[in-house]
Symmetry: C2
Subunit: 387 residues, 2 copies
């Protein structure tokens, strides 16, 4: 096991009605609250009204709305301006990963005089951030319990990650009932995103980080059990609760700390969603089986087979290569069962940009340090397997 640092200080308020804690939490930081949210679904499902009821009498609430999926640098700049103009003390992000990611970038860029994009390119420049409080309305990204954030620069066609110790939310409300109104595709994409996070860690180097891998398996088993139940009955409380908590635990360091090397699939996917505005979880579902097929070899068969035996309960007949192949089928079948389109052609993506996307994935990812190192040619082949 590699040395690691683990410091997840986010205070989680989990369960139905826990939003009641918001005023007490926010007043620790001040009176001027930037309330960030997305396209307005929180107005339809009542969460916006709940937040305003709780805050309007005691806080100066400034609204920062219309944060888009795959949040853009332009949105970040808009948020920073609002913070400066209104002397904001704390940001309340109500949304999923896009809203929370954008909020993190705003919180950090508030204290940076240059272009916020500098902080994405070099997170070491982040020294200070406004405190962040989040209310989760979509499970999957895990952004509510970690420091990371992914921002899209539309001019440069880049979608890159940033983060620093100070960009972790101070507190997060996770109310499973807030997920009841999610569209099925968002529920499915969130489930895939959760699985993808632990899978990226599972396939980092270092098999003696055993407990990390067992927790990764625990997360995957949970998602495989409950995602179909949430799709079947959107108001299934236990399903929503388990999916939400699984999502937070999937990317807070529990499964990745202590392992070395880099992630494999995310930087390949980020090119798809940067160029085509594809839902991140859909891109991941399409890519993961293709990536597994591409890296399958005598060297990797055992690890892939272990995944299948422990997570998909495949029988262990000793033939690792055969079990590994069954694992990949099981993964693909599970994603498809959630109703996700499993080919790039189904989401309108052709091979036109495979070369440039592969080039960028290799340039901005750390694919040469991946479990199986990947070159531009490897990435092109993975895209081709997804056609």
């Amino acid at each position: 096991m590699d040395n690691f640092k683990f410091h997840v200080y986010t205070e989680i308020f989990f369960g139905k009605g826990e939003i009641k804690n918001l005023p007490d939490v926010l007043k620790r930081y001040g009176k001027n609250v930037l309330f960030s949210y997305g396209g307005g679904s929180i107005k339809k499902n009542g969460i916006y009204a709940q937040v305003m009821d709780l805050l309007s009498s005691s806080f100066n609430v400034v609204e920062f709305s219309d944060i888009e999926p795959n949040p853009s640098l332009d949105s970040v700049k808009r948020g920073v301006q609002l913070c400066r103009d209104n002397d904001i003390d704390v940001i309340l992000a109500v949304g999923g990963g896009s809203v929370i990611d954008c909020t993190k970038a705003v919180a950090a860029a508030r204290y940076y005089e240059g272009d916020p994009w500098d902080l994405v390119l070099d997170s070491r420049k982040i020294t200070k951030a406004l405190p962040i409080v989040t209310v989760l309305t979509m499970a999957g990204t895990g952004s509510e319990m970690n420091r990371g954030s992914v921002i899209t620069n539309k001019e440069q066609m880049l979608k890159l990650g940033m983060g620093a110790p100070v960009t972790m939310p101070q507190a997060t409300v996770i109310d499973p009932t807030y997920l009841y109104t999610l569209p099925p595709m968002q529920t499915a994409a969130g489930a895939v995103d959760t699985i993808s996070h632990v899978l990226e860690s599972y396939f980092k180097k270092g098999d003696d980080a055993f407990i990390q891998d067992k927790i990764a398996e625990a997360v995957m088993i949970t998602v495989i059990k409950y995602a179909p139940l949430a799709l079947e009955d959107p108001q299934h409380y236990a399903a929503r609760a388990n999916l939400a908590w699984a999502s937070s635990l999937a990317l807070n360091g529990l499964t990745g700390n202590g392992k070395s090397g880099a992630w494999s699939v995310h930087s390949i996917e980020h090119e798809l969603s940067a160029y085509y505005d594809l839902t991140h979880g859909v891109g991941l579902a399409i890519l993961i089986p293709a990536w597994l097929k591409h890296i399958l070899s005598e060297d990797t068969a055992e690890k892939i087979a272990t995944l299948g035996i422990n997570v998909f309960r495949l029988s262990d007949d000793g033939d690792k290569m055969s079990t590994a192949k069954q694992t990949i089928v099981a993964m693909e079948t599970f994603f498809a069962s959630l109703g996700i389109p499993m080919r790039l052609s189904e989401v309108g993506i052709t091979d036109e940009k495979f070369e440039i996307m592969a080039e960028k994935a290799v340039k901005y990812g750390a694919l040469k340090h991946a479990y199986v190192p990947l070159t531009k040619e490897d990435v092109v082949r993975i895209y081709q397997l997804c056609k």
Copy 2:
């Protein structure tokens, strides 16, 4: 899943050599450090010298030594006096659960004018505590990453838990090489303690807290894999690392939050170690199989069988009662394989105090809220099963 709050703010520095971070961490709080430790094993294995080398030039170090296993109220009072006499800013606890538990009580009682025992009897009286930093030298209790503490009042023959949000360590160094010199019985007892913590949560109420149970299983599988390896080769780094991290994660809320009801075995064990100064993990190893036998019924067979299938890899033949019985045998066999005496008679305990211990376990535990509620008569029977 029940509503819960999760706030584990301890900063973990994990891995060989991470003690180097101590000066930077301690100086956040001040110059006057109370250095608490136990019977002196850290002088033999070199950790004491390492700590003093790191601190002596920049800090005023006051030593608080000779903290005993099952730390006493008298030790707590001695520590409080040292804090007051020396204007202590921060306490550095170097040890296992006993040293850390004692340190937590000292940190809280420093700011309490009455008898520290009041804080054990009513943790709501804890409003403030000195910051605590720990260096772990024995894995098992999990005290390095939670708020809890168990203190023994020898006059009243009571061993009770206390804890408040402010008694959680601010930072903890976990260096697996520091566990290399542990005596085999301490390694074994720590492994049992870790398993017991997740087992207590596993058998709280609320089976729809599914991910919590899967993480509990992950912890148990890890301990079952690595405890024998650490006993066979005390310098097995991966074994020590996995056992240590499993121990911290076993009792920081990941497996217990979201489930209702009370623990079953710990309050029954605390009477044994209060009356007989027995190693806590040894008492647990003796009691757990007896408790499982006692609660086994048509109602509990499925849960116990699930434990056996998922953790001990028993085959699922559909006969839950038979599988549950095999699970109990597997648990007992595993504990015995670690070299732990598995009968009370082997550790010099007769039935003389069964009645009074059972009475106190019921009085001070919350056994009527346990997975299977336990009366005094139940507890006596469990003790008798251990003779």
